[in-house]
């Protein structure tokens, strides 16, 4: 599983804090959290670009849109915009060295919405994109059960 290194790093950091968090957590745990969060954030930014590209291609492929397709396009546009806003909000958290799970989780929800809307239109995300979506979902605790 791709998500395990992230989860392990975050769990170790959380465990370190839970065991002895009267003072600051050990530096190596803080570094692991920062590294995991930075990786998940960067993956999310790449994911946003890829989802935006796939959805744009679908929009361009529809030559004479019907009302359902227009509504789907509007929902995709809004979800991509909300996803970008979630990542913009996550950035200061990442820079501050936090785990930022909540912020990245909001992005994941929007990315999943776009994937579902595209799927309803017969468009599936490429394997390269789906793999990273699962990876970031795992980090943000939004994985499929």
């Amino acid at each position: 599983m791709i998500v395990r290194p992230y989860l392990l790093a975050v769990c170790l950091a959380a465990l370190g804090c839970a065991v002895g968090c009267s003072a600051a957590p050990p530096a190596e745990h803080g570094a692991a959290v920062r590294q995991a969060a930075q990786g998940a954030y960067t993956g999310s930014v790449l994911l946003l670009r890829a989802v935006d590209e796939v959805a744009f291609r679908w929009q361009e492929s529809v030559k004479e849109p019907n009302p359902t397709q227009l509504e789907t396009s509007r929902q995709i546009r809004d979800a991509v915009e909300l996803g970008r806003a979630a990542l913009a909000k996550a950035k200061p958290c990442i820079e501050a060295g936090g785990s930022c799970v909540e912020e990245l989780g909001k992005f994941v929800e929007q990315a999943r919405t776009v994937a579902a809307l595209l799927s309803a239109m017969g468009v599936n995300l490429p394997d390269e994109v789906r793999g990273v979506l699962e990876f970031v979902s795992g980090y943000a605790g939004r994985g499929e059960s």
Binding site: Q35, L46, E53, L70, V80, P126, V129
Partner: protein, 66 residues
């Protein structure tokens, strides 16, 4: 993009690749081959979203067709 910004982007991409080499390297390769996004800016939030442009074009085509 300044030299410092470029360095930060590169560092972020490297950090990501270390943590999930297969998944992220594959996605970076996909974006580089399938989109016209500037490679040096891949780790930055896009300023313009293509789906916003795509939606406007769809609306225009729908109006034109009927």
């Amino acid at each position: 993009m300044s030299a410092l910004e470029s360095l930060l982007v590169t560092t972020a991409l490297e950090a990501a690749k270390q943590l999930a080499p297969e998944a992220l390297a594959g996605l970076i390769a996909w974006i580089k081959s399938e989109s016209d996004d500037e490679p040096a800016a891949l780790a930055e939030l896009p300023v313009t979203l293509k789906t916003a442009i795509g939606h406007e074009r769809m609306v225009a085509r729908a109006a034109k067709s009927g």
